[in-house]
Symmetry: D2
């Protein structure tokens, strides 16, 4: 079968030390310090064989994620930009949907609590949580201590077929007859679930009638906009300089888009919300140094209390946080990671089935498997596209 | 000024004992055991004078509530049906909106944290919580130990003017230019807040994508339907036998209406939700004996866990609850009362201002002040009307 | 190795229908309708072999639970009293602690996130949750849809050795050098966790300084008393008629024990709490019809709001619940089941290691494996013993 | 009557602008920018007269708070160090307990819901929340928009008598016959409530068996230690360099005290908790720059997830927060302020009445009213004393 594979050379920087869970030459939790000269190519591989607890999925659609771009992109020394868990060579691709075509003897469908059905449309969590470590047993699979990641450390879905544990699969059957393009929307469940986990599970959601502010209108910010409007946000303000993304944010429900490069963000938030401010601020830019003061000052200057700041975008920079603002305004900061557990995938699918979360307009381009390597390069510069979706079968 | 007053005779039943907070001949917490031969009439009274912490409101609209009907309705012995806190004679009316026309020196507007503005449009909490007892100080004004109620124990808003403490007023300024009829919608904030307190504050709300079931499509059930759809309910099922109310429920967002007299409620819930059931069940019929088994069996037979049953309608009957169902399905029962505190009024107003909670279709008839006495009688039998709204000025 | 086995005849009552998950002649979810003429005997069996994800435990201690008694006890027609999931013949015993003596290649210790250590002292969850169904994936293993139960549907710990999945094991290493009898206390972690899940996870715990009422001083009520005092209950009232159990309750921290057969429960609660009542009421008697009015009336007559009633004891009877009491007093009813997930086992072990939860006085008798069959009979009548602990190796 | 008064000169720094709620020459929200050359003296004043909603309290005890010291202490330019709400001249003192000696006609006792009793022992909230602004009406009196503060902007309790609104008073009757020195302990309810609000209300408390870390063993850290041990903290680690305070922390329940100037804090936390870390970290040093990395690194390097960092000490400095740590470890930062609302005062009093919160050992010295001015100076340097308590009558 055809696949998109990324290979790179294990050539650690001098300061790198093999971690407790790293495997020499194979797997590391600190990709950017180890992998050099990545190459992406379309490759024929053998169709995978399933284990008893797995299903084989014929992949229909798989989106390109920023992480895919960063795995193929390098710094001046040739090291990949993606900092996290990686084991190369690997088939890329983790935002996908497809059809079940083979079922292991112990592969159960959570929709029915019976063996999986052939032809069941499904999407899949990217995080292969072990279900046996302390965080998994306590109910926090996003913080699994023995995590593997599909398309990062084990083979992904830029491929005609993929074998995955049934427990990671979520049926899309409810979307049949309800949406225009089942698999296109289905492949967006994963990124939408990252946003849902951030604003609903970690941010605690909102009460209908409260206001929200989203900083950054990339795929996560866009999905969060749609989710929070569906949750009854009275006013959703998106902060985003790119005109193309601003337009998309409006299309997805944003009531106002503020350009922080041209407008005074804090003043605009005060003005739009009649001085009340927002219950939830989502940092989805990845540039916390750039936006933390806007967030803190908006909290400080608006009259509302109990704001929650959710940090979902990854960044190594430190943010200068003023504790007093959070004391006086009874406010919190929360870190968000992952998409697994807490009913997130099925809630997102239910929301889509109800017609309340059609995030498909975030797909700004559709391509074929053979086009992936080239687009991973294009996307290094291109900020106009929001999500590129790959049609696979 | 013209008012609608209810008078009745203090003539306690033999078993009645004066309570600690009752006042002989004047006020009781057990109206149905004391007040006999109620009479409702249109009466001229003097315009009220305000205290320093009060505002004078020119009433524009006031809705008729089921409680108003029950205060004027009697049993075979001539005692009023309404069981609660009452002090007669009293001007009726507590679901109202109007314009501020006079402002006490200590009367502040929560919208601005400054003295109230003349002509500010406002609506008002019906519960006059003291702010000084243990529940009030702990943050639970709906459970005030020194409560008075507007239109029940102190003069209400079926009148051209009413004087109320500023702390009970909530500005409707945000609705200006946003809604067709500011005061018509504004007078619905109170009953909508009762529903909001029940499903959001007491029921804990839902996560977007979860399902809900509302039993009873009276004003509270109807408002709850609108609120929960605005909160992202994937599927909202309303159980209601009256065709007129069923139609209204659909208009307000119900995805399905089940007629429990003609259909098998439990089977329908299973079928509609693909066996998942609902996160929240709202008992809004006032007939718990009639519906508790439907609710318990739906919880038991559906596969979802963590259901919350919210009891909002008042009823003296006891419900036969099976603890094991609530154990096996990790479920809860919650009692809900009131509309004050917890940001409920302002959240409802924000939701209306955002166009997400137009409950005005529940107004099925509009009348004038002089028509109120006659309509209190008509409503004893009439089940076709949902909410009658009185135009006052 | 020596074991205590229960065998019985599959002889369903006429009205019994094989359920979806039942297996003819082998396993049922409705034990009391199927199994007849139970026989308990001490039997030699082969030492079990472990799978890759399992450890072999040399059992040191195992407590006798009421369920063990009910599996061996019959009604007039010879059917067992225990109503739930059962597959006979089975080795009984599920409240145990022991030492790891063999480790599968994939058997990890949550304490270290490494392979299990030989000689690690451990206790084990009784619920074999699948980790793959909807409730498990959402974080609710106590409500697993594919549950097996150790000592009920698969072989238990009245045996010299038992093989169990490593994910169910919790290290007792912290108790070493901290407690008198590591394995005696360790074998009480399971029943203590049932109480902890009821009052902390499902009941939401208390704030230090709040009051609690425990109805029934069996092992669960006793453990709940200890846990809630350790959580800062200002006043813990236990309602219990048996003098022996009352004495034990006091020993475990109860501030007051009320005998509901001789004293007016509601008046006593009012008097003791200065009219405030309790934040949490735990129904641990199994006789809800007998105690529900005491609970409801205490809630109604005391001045506190926000009470939570936790139903932990199993009972088929229905309770006549008055919704209005729960409305006026802002109160809730919650069903509680199980002990898995939510960090419960490790929190209980930490509490024991800190010397804050020594529940070992609830062990009123210690016996040997060969004595178990006889004591299962004695316990049908004996109400003086609280917990009998079996020394195995 | 004798009082301790602080006077100062209104002489704003050049950059100061009169705020919306400031009153020229009288009151400001930014004390340190306005008040110069403070003088503290013992002064005879007239016994205050009460309003209808007030009680007159004969003050028995009043503690000295760090804020009192900072109001009397100046920088090089003679401006006071205390940065907040102040109106001088004012009688100082806000941590007090006394006896009710006169009762206004509308002054109710929350303990009885009746008029206050003469001779009732009480303590009083320092925050005079208005009960009418948006935060107060929503249930957040600590964030009142029209706040006054006893002993800061209105006359305090370094005086023989004080008149206060009854709604701020909490009965100490439960402590009678239960504690050695009713008023000494009663005067500590206020600072203990600040700690309780921080760790229980804002920090969300802990589950029994979880670990906590307290940074700084001043009065708030000490009280938090006692509260969290009473809430079932398995291990409570206090970080504190002063030997005197370390000793006190141990006395109040700390399981370990770490000296961060001599020991590696992160390593010690790992070692003591067997690598688990803490559920709650309380920043009570006022030196966030000094401790934030210790906290973040402990969270990062320990294996536990879901840590909450509560910032209770005031500081203007910004903390360099690494969002990624809070993402990977599912952690939160929370700001805490105040002591009012949420049942905090009565819970603290209940806890003291139960013998579970005897914080009186934090009183390291007892003095008389006339000694206050001198001790306000001594305390500028003295770090040995924890709390000085003033015996007034």
């Amino acid at each position: 079968m055809r696949t998109v594979e990324l290979a790179a050379k294990w050539d650690p920087v001098k300061t790198f030390k093999l971690g407790a869970k790293d495997i020499e030459g194979e797997l590391t939790y600190l990709g950017a310090q180890v992998w050099r000269n990545p190459e992406v190519r379309v490759l024929e591989k053998e169709k995978p064989k399933i284990k008893p607890n797995e299903v084989l999925i014929k992949v229909k659609r798989c989106g390109i994620c920023g992480s895919d771009v960063h795995m193929a992109q390098t710094n001046a020394d040739g090291y990949i930009l993606y900092p996290g868990l990686t084991a190369f060579p690997v088939t890329l691709g983790h935002e996908f949907a497809g059809e079940v075509v083979e079922v292991g003897v112990d592969a159960f469908n959570k929709r029915t609590n019976k063996k999986f059905e052939i032809n069941e449309p499904v999407t899949v969590e990217e995080m292969v949580w072990c279900g046996k470590c302390r965080p998994c047993c306590d109910g926090y699979p996003n913080h699994c201590e023995r995590l593997q990641e599909i398309g990062f450390s084990i083979d992904g879905a830029f491929a005609e077929f993929i074998a995955v544990p049934a427990k990671l699969c979520w049926s899309l059957k409810k979307l049949e007859d309800k949406v225009d393009d089942l698999y296109k929307l289905g492949s967006l469940v994963e990124p939408t679930s990252v946003a849902y986990n951030a604003v609903i599970e970690r941010g605690g959601g909102i009460r209908p009638g409260q206001n929200v502010v989203i900083l950054g209108a990339g795929p996560i910010g866009i999905a969060a906009t749609k989710i929070l409007k569906s949750a009854g946000a009275a006013i959703c303000i998106v902060s985003e300089p790119s005109p193309a993304r601003a337009k998309l944010a409006k299309l997805m429900g944003a009531d106002y888009v503020v350009n922080p490069q041209k407008e005074n963000f804090v003043e605009r938030v005060k003005e739009i919300t009649d001085g009340e401010g927002a219950k939830l601020y989502l940092e989805a830019t990845g540039l916390p140094m750039m936006v933390i003061d806007d967030i803190q000052n908006a909290i400080w200057e608006c009259r509302g209390v109990n704001s929650i700041v959710v940090i979902v975008a990854r960044a190594e920079e430190r943010m200068p946080v003023c504790g007093e603002y959070f004391q006086v305004k009874r406010s919190n900061i929360v870190g968000a990671q992952g998409h697994s557990g807490h009913g997130t995938f099925p809630n997102v699918i239910n929301l889509m089935a109800a017609g309340l979360c059609d995030v498909s307009p975030m797909v700004t381009k559709e391509i074929l498997l053979d086009d992936v390597p080239q687009h991973l390069k294009i996307l290094q510069m291109d900020k106009e596209n929001c999500k590129i979706s790959v049609k696979i079968s």
